[in-house]
């Protein structure tokens, strides 16, 4: 080993805690980068393989009813490779030991062989094959797990108004339900929503669809035009009540997964960049100080004939050691966190196997990025070291020159104590360093805002949706549109206090060449249980003529209040009519359109009909109500509001909690690292000054105040900046989830801010204390012996 390397090792030993602080901050950035990039790789490769192996379809459609022979017509569309038709029904389930009903989607299995598209992956038990009904059913894994169902268990389902018992034959996964939740849901609720499969015959018989189908999936030949096929499918299905075909980009499970990957993508670039910049700044500060301290050593090395290259390499090796440490730690941390997050993703996304895949290219990239960060960090200092002419370096550094700080020059100097002025002038003398320190601390504060903003946003949406808009206890949907008098039957159920009718109709809304397919909800003008709310939180009274649509939908369609929308019915009589936009509603999940129920029924031309009802049920008669409800023949599904709400809370709490832990750790590490390093550097730079203060009678506490006073000031400046930055982060990240499917409002609470401030303040205080402990080791006598 060369003597320079020996010096390197000894110097590093002396710098170990500072080098460690830099390496840890760097490791945070790398861990975040490796974690997110590896998650993206894991999710994408797993998804693609799953789609390919299980033949996930490319085009989907629902319809009212078409004879099986139509299937051949569909297969003949140019560009179509495979057609699969079947039946899909919504179902209400009666689970043993669970009073509240669950709802779900039940789909048919082919009469011969297995599914050709959207093939199932068997988890437990066996797949059902063959034509005969055996009273058996397949259950999606998420629902099965949430409700602790195993093969062999029995569940009761209300199918088309008829209650039947089924034995669970197998637990399965489907590429159509990677995200096993009702369409449009942002978070799953596996206890109350599930997916099921059973043989065609049995389902067809139950739904009077024998020899017919009401849903289809298509796969295209490579190179086929998706829009052309969608148009052709819609054309063919028109007479059969087609509800409009759509591709994967509108498929609920697919889009939810894609949105998640998009968010990860943003995180994988933004935050690591921030951390690595902070690490670069810290490396620069540490090395800059080291080289100043070693001026004379550098001069002597040069005088002895060491070349600039050798000296430059020597100092670069410092950063190589730091990068090596940081990378090792970062990879370990990234893998550890990634594995935990994969477990969390398992709650949301169901794959046959989602394993954490360490993206090796990412590790290489990470090493590269952090090396660049470190090299940028040391380059300036090393260049200064190399440039130093030996003779000059032999002389001590000239005394640093100072001047009164700006506030003093403005005439406020008299207000401050002398030690406060010292701090002010020190800050002003190194404005770049001071602002970078402020920047790093502000970032630490800022990243803490994000997870809490998410939590508060979700909380707000839940409260908004379920306290402000929906005030019912349950929503009962009917199998088919029924006469308005059906509402009276619901009113008569035990415990029902209030019942309000709902009429839903699948339509296409068009304005210019923009169109969307969705369901218009018809409600009483001043409904009590489902209130349409505007952006200022007031209820919109539905007008006798005109339509109220989501603000987001108005954006998408490009219409304003007063403008006309063209409506084309997609079911029943397929009426066409136009209505003026009468108001804009504020909502957060999906998009909606509302009309006064009478007006809607008039336009649809099928008489006074309802297809769902909102009910409030007295708590005292809840059980009686549920029993009556489960037995009711007309009810297609029953959704209990509080059940859903509670499910949401649990899953959100879990995922936000984990994110919060990660961000909290990272923020604390940055705050800690920055404050510790700054304190150590100013301790080193100002040893002599501080020792002098001790000699002339300042107590340890007073000297500590001088040492950290500067940092406290910087922290005080950083905190409000951090809150601003954090609010900005939250805004940007929430914007990426501002889609037609899910929107989150930016909710920034005082608690959120207080928490961020507290974490950073505590981390800073602890590290300042640690650094101040070194004051005890100040050599009062030694420091006075020589010039520095």
């Amino acid at each position: 080993m060369s003597l320079l390397d020996l010096k390197l090792i000894r110097d590093l030993r002396a710098l170990k805690s500072q080098a460690a602080a830099v390496a840890i901050v760097m490791a945070c950035g790398l861990a975040m980068m490796i974690m997110t990039r590896s998650l993206i790789v894991s999710l994408e490769t797993t998804r693609d393989a799953y789609y390919r192996d299980n033949h996930f379809a490319q085009i989907f459609s629902r319809l009212k009813r078409a004879p099986n022979s139509v299937s051949a017509q569909l297969a003949a569309i140019p560009g179509v490779a495979t057609v699969q038709t079947g039946i899909a029904l919504s179902v209400t389930l009666d689970l043993p030991g669970v009073i509240e009903p669950a709802t779900g989607l039940i789909q048919s299995l082919p009469e011969q062989g297995e599914l050709t598209l959207n093939r199932l992956h068997l988890r437990a038990g066996r797949i059902l094959v063959g034509r005969e009904s055996t009273g058996e059913i397949l259950v999606g894994e998420a629902f099965a797990q949430a409700n602790q169902l195993k093969p062999g268990d029995e569940i009761a389902a209300v199918l088309y108004g008829r209650r039947q018992n089924f034995r669970i034959a197998g637990i399965v996964l489907s590429p159509e339900f990677i995200f096993e939740a009702p369409p449009g849901a942002a978070l799953p609720n596996n206890k109350t929503y599930g997916v099921f499969w059973m043989p065609y015959k049995e389902l067809a018989r139950a739904s009077n669809l024998d020899g017919a189908f009401n849903q289809l999936s298509l796969q295209l030949v490579p190179g086929a035009s998706e829009p052309a096929v969608i148009a052709a499918v819609d054309h063919i299905l028109r007479p059969y009540g087609g509800r409009g075909a759509y591709g994967r980009t509108s498929h609920p499970s697919h889009t939810r997964l894609r949105d998640e990957i998009n968010i990860l993508n943003g995180l994988s670039i933004g935050f690591p960049l921030v951390f690595l910049s902070v690490a670069a700044f810290m490396t620069n500060a540490v090395m800059g100080r080291q080289i100043t301290l070693q001026r004379e050593q550098i001069a002597i090395l040069k005088a002895f004939g060491f070349s600039n290259g050798e000296i430059g390499r020597h100092y670069l090796k410092f950063s190589i050691v730091i990068v090596a440490g940081g990378t090792a730690l970062g990879v370990l941390g990234g893998v550890f966190l990634g594995e935990r997050l994969v477990d969390m993703y398992h709650v949301f996304f169901r794959f046959p196997a989602l394993n954490f895949q360490l993206a090796s290219t990412v590790v290489v990239l990470a090493v590269l990025v952090s090396s660049i960060a470190a090299i940028i960090g040391v380059a300036g200092s090393v260049r200064a070291a190399v440039r130093l002419p030996p003779a000059e370096a032999m002389r001590p550094e000239p005394p640093s020159s100072y001047r009164p700080a700006l506030v003093e020059r403005l005439g406020f100097g008299r207000l401050f104590t002398v030690t406060f002025r010292m701090a002010l002038r020190n800050i002003e003398r190194r404005p770049v360093r001071a602002s970078l320190t402020v920047g790093a601390l502000a970032l630490a504060t800022g990243i803490l805002i994000v997870p809490n903003a998410f939590r508060d946003g979700i909380g707000y949406v839940l409260d908004y949706q379920w306290d402000l808009i929906q005030r019912q206890t349950v929503m009962v949907s009917l199998i088919e549109p029924s006469p308005a008098r059906t509402l009276a039957d619901f009113k008569a159920l035990p415990g029902v206090i209030l019942a309000e009718p709902v009429r839903g109709a699948a339509v296409e809304l068009r304005a210019g060449n923009q169109f969307r397919r969705l369901s218009i909800t018809g409600l009483p003008a001043q409904a009590e249980l489902f209130r349409v709310i505007d952006s200022s939180g007031r209820q919109i009274s539905l007008p006798p003529e005109g339509i109220v649509i989501s603000r987001k939908l108005a954006d998408v369609l490009g219409v304003k209040i007063g403008e006309i929308l063209f409506v084309r019915g997609l079911e029943g009589k397929r009426v066409e009519f136009s209505v003026p936009v009468a108001g804009l509603s504020e909502d957060f999940a999906g998009t909606a359109a509302y009309m006064e129920i009478g007006a809607l029924n008039r336009h649809l031309g099928e008489g006074d009909r309802i297809n769902a009802a909102y009910l409030t049920v007295g708590a005292g008669q809840w059980n009686e109500f549920l029993h009556a409800m489960k037995a009711s023949p007309r009810a297609g599904s029953v959704v209990v509001k509080n059940k859903i709400r509670q499910g949401f809370r649990e899953t959100t709490a879990q995922s936000i909690g984990l994110l919060q832990q990660i961000y909290l750790t990272f923020a604390a590490v940055v705050a800690f690292g920055i404050v510790y390093n700054s304190a150590r550097i100013s301790l080193s730079e100002r040893q002599r000054e501080l020792a002098t203060l001790r000699v002339i009678g300042f107590t340890r506490g007073e000297v500590a105040t001088v040492l950290v006073g500067e940092l406290m000031m910087l922290t005080l400046i950083a905190l409000p900046c951090g809150l601003l930055i954090g609010s900005g982060f939250a805004r940007v990240i929430l914007m990426t989830v501002n889609t037609e499917f899910v929107r989150l409002p930016l909710i920034l609470t005082a608690q959120n801010y207080a928490f961020a401030v507290l974490v950073v303040a505590v981390a800073s205080a602890i590290s300042a204390l640690l650094a101040c402990r070194r004051l005890d080791q100040l050599d009062l006598v030694g420091v006075l012996k020589a010039r520095d």
């Binding site: 640093s400 001047r403 030690t419 002098t692 009678g697 300042f698 007073e702």
Partner: protein, 246 residues
């Protein structure tokens, strides 16, 4: 340890410092160095004492013990009857804060503070200080009060250091080679300032030097070698600092 003990000068005749068999050793075993090998010493208020001796003879060690920067290994050391030798960290800090002024070879000013502020640093924490302006006038720097150390010459910086040391009207003034880094004329100006303080404020003053010429301005000259006092000389008349030549 009453607060008054550090500042009152009620018994001018009693010794300010009283040391018996004062010893200080550094290190242990083979590496042990006896910096002070058991010396007896008394100093009285108002005295100006010059300490001479070869390099390594223990001058700085003695000054550090008297100034409360360090504690003796054995022997006793009293300051106006208070056990300075046995004081703890907090006691030493209070002692330095209230009773001692230091002047060092390398000035040790705070670079981020002006001359006035360097002095104010002390006047802010002292019990009965003079104003920074007064202190700076005493060392002849009334005109340069708002300059930063980097804008002052070595001699001027040293005089600021003296002003800082005496602004709290200390009972003792400790000067370790105060002219070591200065040329003759600048050195003289610094010594004049010290002499004036000693005369006008009656401050017990100890000056360490290698320069035997400075012995002439002292009331008493101590010579140290190998940690012992090997010579003690009383001057009947003190030469004025301005008349010294080296």
């Amino acid at each position: 340890m009453a607060h008054a003990a550090f500042t009152s000068a009620e018994s001018d005749l009693a010794p300010v410092f009283q040391a018996r068999a004062l010893a200080k050793t550094y290190g242990e075993g083979d590496a042990m160095v006896r910096a002070l090998a058991g010396l007896d010493l008394e100093c009285r208020a108002g005295e100006l004492v010059v300490v001479l001796g070869a390099s390594g003879s223990g001058k700085s060690t003695l000054l550090n013990l008297l100034g409360g920067l360090d504690t003796p290994t054995s022997g006793s050391l009293f300051y106006r009857g208070w056990d300075l030798g046995g004081a703890d960290e907090a006691g030493l800090t209070r002692y330095r804060r209230e009773a001692v002024g230091f002047v060092f070879q390398f000035y040790n000013l705070i670079p981020s503070l002006t001359a006035r502020e360097n002095v104010a640093l002390i006047t802010e924490i002292a019990a009965d200080p003079m104003t920074p302006e007064e202190a700076l006038h005493m060392v002849g720097l009334g005109a340069r009060m708002d300059h930063f150390p980097a804008q002052l010459s070595g001699g001027e910086q040293q005089r600021v250091a003296i002003a800082r040391a005496i602004a709290k009207r200390p009972a003792v003034l400790m000067c370790d080679e105060p002219t070591g880094a200065l040329d003759v004329n600048t050195g003289k100006a610094v010594l004049e300032a010290i002499e004036r303080i000693n005369r006008e404020l009656g401050t017990l003053t100890l000056i360490i030097t290698h320069n035997s010429v400075m012995a002439e301005m002292a009331d008493r000259v101590l010579t140290l070698s190998d940690g012992h006092i090997t010579g003690e000389k009383h001057n009947l008349t003190r030469a004025a600092a301005s008349t010294l030549a080296w």
